[in-house]
C-alpha cells in the first residue's frame, strides 16, 4: 500500500517535471531572445554611457569658454570706454579752445567796430579796417564747428551708454553657465551611477575643479538690452502705487 502511494507520488513529480520541461521549451527561446537582446543592448548602453560621459566632460570646457568670452568682452568694453573717454576729453579741450577763440574774435570785431566809428571820414583807413574785419570771418566758422563738436561729444556719450549691453550679455552668459553647471552635475551623477568605478572619480574630479562659475546666482537670466522706456515706466508706476499704499 505504501509502495503504491510512493509510486503515485513519483508519477506526480514526473508529471511536474514534464510540465516544467514543456514550460522550459516555451521559455528557452524567450530567454535566448532576451540574451540576444542584452548582447545587442549592452554595447548600445555602453555607447550611450560613453557619449554622456564625453559630453559631460566637455561641459566644464564650454563653461570656461563662456567665462573667457565674458572676460574678453569686459576687457574690450573697457578699452572702448578708455577710447571714448579720451575722445570726449580731447573734444572738451578743443571745444574750450574754440570758445575762447570765438570770444577773442568777438572782442576784435567790437574793437574794430568802434575804431571804424572813430575813423569816420578817413576812407583809406576804414577800407583797411574792413579788410581786417573780413579776417575775423572765422568766427562764423567757429559758430558752426562748436555745435558740431558738442554733437560729437553727445554721440560719444551715447556710445558709453550703449556699452551697458556688455553687463547685460554678461548676465545672460552667467545664466547659461549656471544652466550648464546644473546639467553637468546631474549628468555626472547619472554616469557615476552607471559606472561607479572609474567614471565616478573622473566626473567627480572634473566637477570639483573645472568649473570657474562661483556658487550662488548673481545674474539675471531675464536681462535684456532691448527694453524700451516702457519698462522703466512700469517700474515707476509700481513705485508710485507702492508709495501711495504705504502712505495711506
Amino acid at each position: 500500500m505504501e509502495e503504491a502511494k510512493n509510486l503515485v507520488s513519483v508519477f506526480d513529480k514526473l508529471n511536474d517535471l514534464k510540465s516544467l520541461f514543456k514550460f522550459g521549451e516555451k521559455i528557452v527561446p524567450i530567454i535566448q531572445s532576451l540574451v540576444e537582446f542584452m548582447k545587442d543592448i549592452i554595447p548600445l548602453l555602453d555607447t550611450i554611457n560613453t557619449s554622456i560621459a564625453d559630453s559631460t566632460s566637455k561641459m566644464p570646457i564650454a563653461s570656461n569658454q563662456i567665462n573667457d568670452v565674458t572676460n574678453a568682452t569686459e576687457m574690450a568694453t573697457c578699452q572702448i570706454l578708455d577710447l571714448v573717454d579720451d575722445i570726449s576729453n580731447a573734444l572738451a579741450s578743443i571745444e574750450t579752445a574754440l570758445i575762447t577763440e570765438k570770444e577773442r574774435q568777438e572782442k576784435i570785431e567790437l574793437l574794430a567796430q568802434s575804431l571804424n566809428n572813430a575813423l569816420e571820414g578817413n576812407t583809406g583807413l576804414q577800407e583797411q579796417l574792413k579788410e581786417l574785419l573780413e579776417l575775423t570771418k572765422d568766427r562764423r566758422i567757429l559758430e558752426t564747428v562748436i555745435p558740431l563738436i558738442e554733437a560729437i561729444r553727445e554721440d560719444s556719450y551715447k556710445i558709453t551708454m550703449a556699452l551697458q549691453v556688455q553687463d547685460i550679455t554678461a548676465q545672460q552668459l552667467a545664466a547659461v553657465n549656471h544652466l550648464i553647471n546644473s546639467v553637468h552635475s546631474k549628468l555626472s551623477l547619472i554616469v557615476a551611477d552607471i559606472e561607479k568605478s572609474e567614471l565616478n572619480s573622473e566626473m567627480g574630479s572634473s566637477r570639483s575643479n573645472s568649473f570657474d562659475t562661483p556658487d550662488g546666482a548673481h545674474y539675471d537670466a531675464n536681462a535684456s538690452f532691448t527694453r524700451g522706456e516702457g519698462v522703466q515706466q512700469k517700474v515707476d508706476d509700481l513705485i508710485r502705487e507702492n508709495n501711495l499704499r504705504s502712505n495711506s
Partner: protein
C-alpha cells in the same frame, strides 16, 4: 549740497558708465565698490558718502542684502539708495521697495532717467 556717491557694481563696465554719467551730470565725487561687503567697508571708511547707487546681482553680498544691511544700521540707515539693475520683474521691484530702496532704475538706463531719479531723491531728503 555737495554729493559724494558710492557706486556699487561687480561689473567694471557698469561702474564706469554710472561714474561717467555722474560726472556729466556735475557730480564728480565718488567712491567705487565691487559688491555689498566692499560697499559696507567703503561706507565705514568714507563718512562723507551721502548717496548710494547699487546693482542688485553681485557675487558675495548682493545689492538687496546691502540695502537691508544699511537700513538695519542706525548710523547710515537714512542714506539714499538708488538701485540700478537688470531685474525688471514686478516681484523683484516690490521686494526692493520693501527693503526700502529710495528708487529703482532698470538697465539699460538713459542719463535722463538717472538725472531725474537723483534729483527726485535729493528733493525728498
Amino acid at each position: 549740497m555737495s554729493l559724494k556717491f558710492l557706486v556699487v557694481d561687480d561689473s567694471v563696465t557698469m561702474r564706469r558708465i554710472v561714474i561717467n554719467s555722474l560726472k556729466n551730470l556735475g557730480f564728480p565725487n565718488y567712491v567705487e565698490a565691487v559688491d555689498g561687503r566692499d560697499a559696507l567697508g567703503k561706507l565705514s571708511a568714507n563718512s562723507d558718502i551721502n548717496f548710494i547707487i547699487t546693482d542688485w546681482n553681485m557675487p558675495g553680498m548682493s545689492g538687496l542684502e546691502l540695502v537691508k544691511a544699511i537700513r538695519g544700521d542706525a548710523s547710515i540707515a537714512s542714506l539714499p539708495i538708488l538701485m540700478v539693475t537688470t531685474r525688471g520683474v514686478k516681484e523683484d521691484i516690490i521686494e526692493a521697495l520693501q527693503a526700502r530702496v529710495s528708487d529703482y532704475i532698470v538697465k539699460p538706463f538713459t542719463p535722463q532717467i538717472l538725472k531725474e531719479k537723483i534729483e527726485a531723491i535729493i528733493k525728498r531728503t
